[in-house]
């Protein structure tokens, strides 16, 4: 027994020594790449990253490690990436929620937004209003007339206050000229349970939220035209509400500023391949998500727009100064 322990110890010393003295390869990547996730395992972005890694393994031998750093609406994960060296081996998997969290918590934008290079926007997930089929109020006109009747005491449920979905709700209320109350829950699914239980009349989320949940239906979707996966669901444009066609939740990759060009190009090339992969497209198409391959310039523009938008609405609500 004792001999075995010593043997294990020796082996460990040898392994670590050989690791330390190991020869360094010339090109990127020469060690595992960590993709840092701001959600707990099982969250939407977690599934996306793991699917990405799964498909990327067809095209590269590089090893990816998906790390979950949940907390503070993404700030914990961002902080972790900023603290890590900017050598391209630490990638942040972001969604639009991160940007809006930075605005709503009044965190330092130079640090948490512009200290990153937003290198690749992977997909657009349209926002939509979801209702419960068991509730007689389950279409958009129903919601509007109910809101008018209730004079501001109508309840909408969703995830965090000041998050992406809350922002969409604020916009919709503004454009439809109604007032309602936003009651936040710990997570999207918790809020959907509240919707099914009749706590509120509407939930703001994404089309994939209703798959596998026959008690829920989409009342209307933020998109230029109807989604081919949900041909019966009207768009807000059809219902007379314009200016919300581009309300999406995006998902993408960012690296810390100053990351070597070589690493960024390598990652973008990999994204090019995954973007064209039929399995990748099919996985998201089923969820009515449009896969994209926006590079830094276009991605950055979208983020600037997110910041301007959320600042304006959250200020009007009195949530930020």
């Amino acid at each position: 027994m004792r001999h075995r322990k010593i043997a294990v110890l020796l082996a460990f010393v040898l392994i670590s020594a050989s690791l330390a003295l190991g020869v360094r390869a010339a090109s990127f990547p020469e060690k595992p790449i960590r993709i840092v996730n701001y959600v707990a395992p099982g969250g939407v972005m977690d599934i996306t990253t793991r699917k990405f890694v799964d498909i990327a393994s067809k095209y590269t031998k590089a090893v990816f490690v998906v790390e979950n750093k949940p907390g503070a609406g993404g700030l914990t994960g961002m902080e972790y990436v900023i603290e890590a060296p900017n050598d391209g081996y630490t990638v942040f998997a972001a969604t639009s929620s991160n940007i809006i969290t930075v605005v709503s918590t009044q965190a330092n934008q130079d640090r948490y937004v512009w200290n990153f290079q937003w290198i690749s926007m992977l997909m657009r997930d349209p926002e939509c209003v979801i209702t419960s089929v068991n509730n007689p109020i389950n279409t958009w006109p129903d919601i509007v007339s109910d809101a008018v009747a209730k004079k501001g005491s109508q309840i909408w449920v969703g995830p965090s206050t000041g998050g992406n979905d809350h922002l969409v709700a604020l916009k919709l209320w503004d454009k439809a000229g109604i007032k309602a109350k936003w009651v936040p829950f710990e997570s999207g699914p918790a809020a959907m349970a509240a919707l099914m239980g009749g706590v509120g009349v509407a939930y703001v989320g994404n089309p994939a939220d209703i798959t596998g949940r026959p008690d829920l239906k989409i009342a209307a979707v933020c998109a230029p035209q109807r989604l081919k996966q949900f041909p019966d669901v009207p768009t807000f444009k059809e219902l007379g509400i314009t200016g919300v066609e581009d309300e999406i939740m995006w998902r993408g990759f960012a690296v810390e500023k100053g990351t070597p060009k070589e690493a960024i190009e390598w990652l973008q090339n990999l994204v090019d391949k995954v973007y064209a992969d039929p399995e990748w497209i099919k996985f998201f198409d089923e969820q009515a998500i449009e896969v994209t391959n926006y590079r830094e310039e276009r991605f950055t523009q979208i983020i600037k727009m997110n910041i301007a938008d959320s600042t304006a609405y959250l200020k009007a609500e009195g949530l930020i100064k």
Binding site: V8, L9, T161
Partner: protein, 188 residues
């Protein structure tokens, strides 16, 4: 001067110093009375009162106060508001003899020594890495507790390092700190 002054900067420091003095004073005063053995409990009660007061001051200065008839300060105020009178009552009962006496102190010196070793090893982890620091701590802690068989001590700390490396670092992907100095020396 408003209450906001105490929520940050110099005001915060003044408030914390005042609390520390109040706790110290409570201890000194109580240890001069016949209930000398209760001085510690009185000081503890005083620190709970300070904690309550601290919460009340800070919750008067939160960034967003009210939204949809909802206040972030409501619940902390509620708990602190009950904690303060409860602690006052605890001090009163300690001084009137209704509370049990504290447990005997025992070897507080040993506890403090172990805690010091623990804190130092944790503080050095960022520089020397987890594996060196935890091995050193296990050795030192065993020594402090009076163990003297050095070969066994080395074996045990070595096997802990091997266990934590294989199970936590390799198998469970826990990114244990490798230490900035070690990284620089070995060029990892």
């Amino acid at each position: 001067m408003s209450i906001a002054y105490f929520a940050k900067g110099a005001g915060l420091a003044i408030m914390l110093a005042a609390f520390a003095m109040a706790v110290g004073l409570a201890y000194i005063v109580a240890s001069r009375t016949a209930k000398r053995r209760m001085a510690g409990l009185v000081a503890l009660g005083a620190s709970f009162i300070s904690l309550g007061a601290f919460v009340l001051v800070l919750s008067a200065n939160l960034e967003t106060s009210v939204f949809n008839g909802n206040e972030a300060a409501m619940i902390p105020r509620l708990w602190a508001g009950i904690l303060i009178p409860a602690s006052v009552l605890m001090i009163y009962r300690a001084l009137t003899g209704a509370e049990e006496e504290p447990e005997p102190a025992g070897r507080t010196d040993k506890v403090l020594a172990v805690l010091a070793a623990l804190t130092i090893s944790v503080a050095l982890m960022d520089y020397l890495g987890y594996f060196i620091c935890s091995a050193a701590f296990i050795l030192i802690c065993m020594y402090m507790l009076g163990y003297r068989k050095f070969p066994v001590m080395l074996l045990i700390s070595g096997s802990w390092v091997a266990f934590s490396y294989f199970v936590f670092y390799r198998l469970l992907y826990v990114g244990l700190p490798l230490g900035s100095i070690i990284k620089a020396v070995f060029g990892i």
